[in-house]
């Protein structure tokens, strides 16, 4: 996968960051690294995502949502010409209690793609504690490919890189 240039990745990252409403906006995700090998995304601590009254323990579900979201980004980066994508299935292991008010870091990558399906894996830890993963997940996605992908057409509309 040599055809992905830096500008395209930056455009995808910019466009993804700018997505309007919805859960991704609420999670306030920040893309830290983007490459064909994978993506690294930061989610700031948010007390709404906790299960305890003290608001220090994250609900597992938000980690699942985070993986699903970041897999989507990893797919758009790794695969050219995706017009739509749907999660087929998702498996998540909760490896430790997610107890901290630190930012959450996710690394995800698409490790195999075919015409119709792609396969992703990712892991999650608290910032500064990469050795202590709190969750790990894998997912498969059904892809629809078009002449130009969602993000590629957006790049054209925006008139290319500055």
């Amino acid at each position: 996968m040599s055809g992905i240039d830096k500008t395209r990745m930056e455009r995808i990252a910019h466009r993804w960051n700018a997505r309007g409403s919805g859960l991704i906006t609420h999670m306030a995700l920040k893309i830290e690294e983007v490459s064909a090998e994978g993506v690294l995304v930061r989610m700031p601590f948010n007390p709404d995502f906790c299960v305890d009254r003290d608001q220090t323990l994250l609900h597992g579900g938000i980690l699942t949502a985070l993986l699903d979201s970041v897999f989507g980004l990893a797919n758009f980066v790794a695969i050219e010409g995706i017009s739509t994508m749907a999660t087929l299935d998702l498996r998540v292991d909760y490896l430790r209690a997610a107890q901290s008010r630190a930012d959450v870091i996710v690394r995800a990558h698409c490790f195999r793609q075919t015409r119709h399906i792609c396969f992703d894996s990712g892991s999650i830890w608290f910032d500064g504690r990469e050795g202590a993963e709190i969750a790990r997940g894998t997912a498969t996605f059904a892809l629809t490919r078009g002449e130009t992908g969602f993000y590629d057409s957006a790049i054209t509309e925006e008139g290319g890189p500055a």
Binding site: G22, D48, F49, H59, D68, R91, D93
Partner: protein, 133 residues
């Protein structure tokens, strides 16, 4: 535990308030819940579909309540999950039913499904494990 007590208990959980759901039916081995659609649940802003992670979270929450509705501090501890996405979740209420397949001393296995207007057309199905100790 009656419905009112269960709903009062889960209202103390910040993330459950974020999901915005209520338990509609509860028994020894099942729980059924209804979630109200909100903009913050959206995964696909163009189509206004539910985010897959919200659907998985809602089923997980319902499953945890089926396992332990009278939790004292935090809901039942999740170990892992598998979710199968079958149809898009469109704008509108989402229902979930969780059935405890097996509850041992340490581990519980729970199956869950989510649907909208037609229970025979599920949006997602899931399998969840919980640690009870």
């Amino acid at each position: 535990m009656n419905l009112q007590a269960v709903n009062a208990n889960l209202s103390g959980v910040p993330f459950f308030r974020f999901l915005n759901f209520a338990i509609r039916d509860i028994g020894e081995f099942h729980a059924q819940a209804e979630m109200t659609f909100a903009t913050r649940h959206i995964g696909n802003p163009v189509m206004e579909h539910y985010h897959g992670g919200i659907i998985a979270s809602f089923m997980e929450a319902t499953a945890a309540i089926a396992v332990k509705p009278d939790f004292a501090d935090v809901p039942a501890k999740p170990i892992n999950l598998t979710v199968d996405y079958l149809r898009p979740g469109v704008k509108g209420p989402l229902l979930a039913r969780a059935t405890v397949t097996r509850k041992g001393r340490r581990i519980a296995s729970v199956s869950a499904m989510a649907w909208q207007t037609d229970r025979d057309k599920p949006v997602a199905e899931g399998l969840y494990h919980f640690l009870l100790v």
